[in-house]
């Protein structure tokens, strides 16, 4: 069994204004675009310009949001840095690939190759703060952030770490959007982000973002909430199996579905797969409130890191922005479950509670 951990600091860069710590989603932006892009902070406030000049968008937003979380938690050097990224540094990878093709494998930039590796973000954070500790990068679709979180919670349970910086980050580029839209993973046309529940098309509303948290073994004055557990399951045969997996996960935590006040589900506007969330809600969560989050940040492999950021704020500020509510919770929200899945293949749940 894995111990609960406290979220003691957060940092998020997303298509919403999320990097201010003082307010929580006060002015939600409704987009009508093919994909949602992040609103960048002034990066120079967070990152040394010498390092910044080589960084692509994903590295910038990852490193900056990591620093935000550390600062909030008053941690200079975390005991570990665990990053999740589904597709990693796409812009650098594409740049290197395209130049390789255009120049017939000559005159290539070493920088874009170097920065194309999936552990660049965690490595750059370590480099900037001089952190010699454990540093890991998980890269498995919608299991990426979840595995990074599991590893972090395991370290705290083992006693090998007290404070771990953990996050998820993915970027969208014009090319990668185009490529994944044409195989039906993403929407081909712009749609209103506030209206994804009523979408009539296949493919997800695409987005990007970075969200980091400092998770710790003890409560401090900056604590937001607790993370009590994370679980992933692969290729369940049907919704009955999904429901059974969720129920048994809750049972391990001495809970039943009724104990969950609010379920944050990964609705992304894809008519082929969004039905799963509804079925699970009807099957086991008829007493719980239901919410969504991808209308704010779009779909990307590590969007559950954004959902974790959002849930932590809900548990701290005790308020839920009306834009994310599908079904109002009956009770005061003390316990949240995030449920996300990709194409009914990679399912994950994260259990959080107030502290």
């Amino acid at each position: 069994m894995i111990n609960s951990v406290y979220i003691n600091g957060l940092g998020a860069i997303s298509p919403q204004e999320t990097f201010s710590a003082d307010s929580f989603l006060k002015n939600i932006i409704d987009y009508n675009q093919k994909y949602l892009e992040i609103i960048p902070p002034v990066y120079k406030e967070y990152i040394d310009p010498k390092a910044l000049r080589r960084m692509s968008k994903i590295v910038r937003m990852g490193v900056a949001s990591g620093f935000m979380a550390l600062k909030q938690a008053n941690i200079e050097i975390p005991d570990a840095i665990n990053t999740g990224t589904g597709l990693g540094c796409q812009a650098d990878t594409e740049k290197f690939l395209q130049t390789m093709i255009d120049n017939d494998e000559t005159l290539l930039n070493p920088s874009s190759f170097i920065q194309s590796t999936h552990n660049t973000i965690g490595g750059q954070i370590a480099l900037a703060i001089g952190c010699n500790n454990y540093n890991m990068a998980y890269v498995h679709r919608t299991f990426s952030f979840e595995t990074a979180l599991l590893d972090s919670m395991m370290m705290i349970t083992e006693g090998t770490a007290k404070n771990v910086l953990v996050g998820g980050v993915d970027e969208i580029t014009e090319e990668s959007y185009y490529i994944r839209a044409k195989i039906g993973h993403l929407k081909n046309e712009a749609e209103q982000s506030s209206n994804i529940l009523n979408s009539k098309t296949i493919g997800a509303l695409c987005g990007e973002g970075a969200a980091f948290a400092v998770v710790s073994d003890s409560k401090t004055e900056t604590s937001y909430c607790k993370i009590d557990g994370v679980s992933m399951f692969y290729k369940p045969v049907d919704t009955l199996e999904i429901a059974a997996k969720i129920t048994s996960f809750l049972q391990e935590h001495n809970l039943t579905p009724q104990d969950i006040d609010f379920v944050i589900s990964g609705f992304n506007g894809d008519i082929e797969y969004d039905g799963i969330y509804r079925m699970i809600n009807e099957k086991i969560f008829e007493h719980s409130g239901l919410g969504m989050y991808k209308n704010l940040c779009g779909e990307y492999d590590t969007s559950s890191a954004f959902a974790t950021w959002m849930a932590a704020n809900i548990l701290k500020f005790k308020e839920i922005p009306s834009e994310i509510i599908i079904k109002k919770p009956l009770n005061k929200v003390k316990r949240v479950l995030i449920y996300n899945q990709f194409h009914n293949v990679n399912h994950s749940i994260i259990l959080m509670s107030e502290c």
Partner: protein
């Protein structure tokens, strides 16, 4: 009482063998797999030598009875062959009898196909089926499906140390009782992308690489896959099985010096080795053999050598880099070399550092250059380092 983690199965494919048996035979006969490439489609194909597996994509598909039209990257196919061997080698017939996970690693995933079809992806629909085989988790799922794994699957990518980190993570999942068995390791196939990448860094040797030699001038790229089966001691006892060796120590540390280069003090490597030794409960004198990262680049070997001297003082245990055999297999290197370590323990043998002649003046240490078979190999320490300052060490021991 904390669970112990044992290695019960090995599986590998690389330029020196299609399986464990062939690999061991090559190791014992000083047979390097590095030569001119047959399959790589690159303008630099003839400029360098490679540790290439002499089989085409279609031959690999035939070996696995996969219809030719199905979209599998070379990466996936290599992983499937090696992981299957590991599971068979461990004598596992019912994969879901215990909670079993599959953890894999790769630096560039399905890049071997994406780089060929990237222009098609952008301009036409002829190669669409390969679009979703690009991401690093794709090969992991292909293997999980082949093995019937349901309980847990995930993927790590920390550049050239990737696969050693899956073994470490797997061991921890077992120790904490989250899983009972884990198949862990990694894979990478040769690609133009990595060839050109390392070429821009000017760290590729045009000749056979010479790890830890004063005249070394870079690495040779290789390809391959390696997986080990990790099982909890209680499961092994229940099954009445025997294990190959025990995983006693592991650690990951960050050099935090430079995005690609290793520090002049070898701090990350020093920390990884020191922490792994501490966890294993062994003394530094207990180490019988070190399989070094030893890529053959000026920077790595010097930095790693300095770190070894910091850890072991003047009495560095016998060590060798086996990259003269396989080339640098990147995301597969850590697990393939862990397998070499397990073979060293099983056969009481140290495999030599090929192509070594001249000692690096600055550090004055010499790797083993001959096969050593006349002593007991009890504890093997294996290093794997990667970009982003990622340094990992594993220690495996005779039971």
């Amino acid at each position: 009482m904390q669970r112990r983690v044992l290695i019960t199965g090995l599986g590998t494919i690389s330029s020196i063998g299609m399986n464990i048996e062939e690999t061991l035979d090559s190791l014992l006969n000083k047979r390097s797999g590095i030569k001119k490439s047959k399959n790589l489609q690159s303008v630099h194909k003839d400029d360098f030598v490679f540790g290439e597996i002499p089989l085409t994509l279609s031959e690999l598909k035939d070996m696995l009875n996969i219809p030719q039209h199905e979209a599998y990257s070379r990466t996936s196919l290599l992983a499937m062959l090696a992981a299957k061997e590991a599971v068979d080698n461990a004598g596992i017939s019912d994969i879901n009898k215990y909670r079993t996970g599959f953890l894999s690693a790769s630096t560039v995933g399905g890049m071997d196909r994406s780089e060929l079809y990237y222009s098609d992806f952008l301009t036409n629909d002829t190669q669409n089926k390969y679009i979703d085989s690009h991401h690093c988790g794709d090969h992991t799922e292909k293997v999980a499906d082949l093995l019937g794994i349901k309980d847990f699957t995930s993927t790590i990518s920390t550049a050239c140390s990737s696969s050693i980190n899956t073994i470490m993570f797997g061991a921890r999942l077992i120790k904490l009782g989250i899983l009972d068995r884990v198949i862990a390791g990694g894979v990478d196939s040769l690609s133009k992308f990595t060839l050109n990448g390392f070429n821009t860094l000017m760290i590729l040797d045009r000749e056979h690489c010479r790890p830890f030699d004063e005249t070394r001038s870079g690495l040779n790229l290789g390809e391959g896959a390696g997986y080990v089966v990790l099982e909890a001691d209680d499961i092994i006892e229940k099954e009445g099985k025997t294990a190959i060796c025990e995983l006693k120590g592991y650690a990951n540390a960050n050099d935090a010096f430079h995005q690609t280069a290793s520090s002049p003090t070898g701090e990350g490597a020093f920390l990884a080795m020191t922490k792994a030794l501490k966890l294993s409960g062994l003394n530094k004198d207990d180490i019988s053999y070190i399989n070094v990262h030893g890529t053959g680049t000026g920077n790595n070997d010097l930095s790693e050598g300095i770190a070894m001297k910091r850890v072991f003082g003047e009495n560095i245990p016998p060590f060798s880099s086996t990259k003269g055999y396989t080339g640098h297999t990147l995301g597969a290197a850590g697990s393939i070399e862990t397998i070499f370590g397990a073979l060293a323990i099983k056969h009481n043998t140290i495999f030599p550092n090929l192509n070594f002649v001249n000692t690096i003046e600055e550090i004055g240490i010499r790797p083993e250059t001959d096969i050593i078979t006349n002593r007991e190999i009890k504890n093997v320490l294996s290093n794997s380092f990667g970009f982003g300052g990622n340094n990992s060490t594993l220690i495996i021991s005779k039971i």
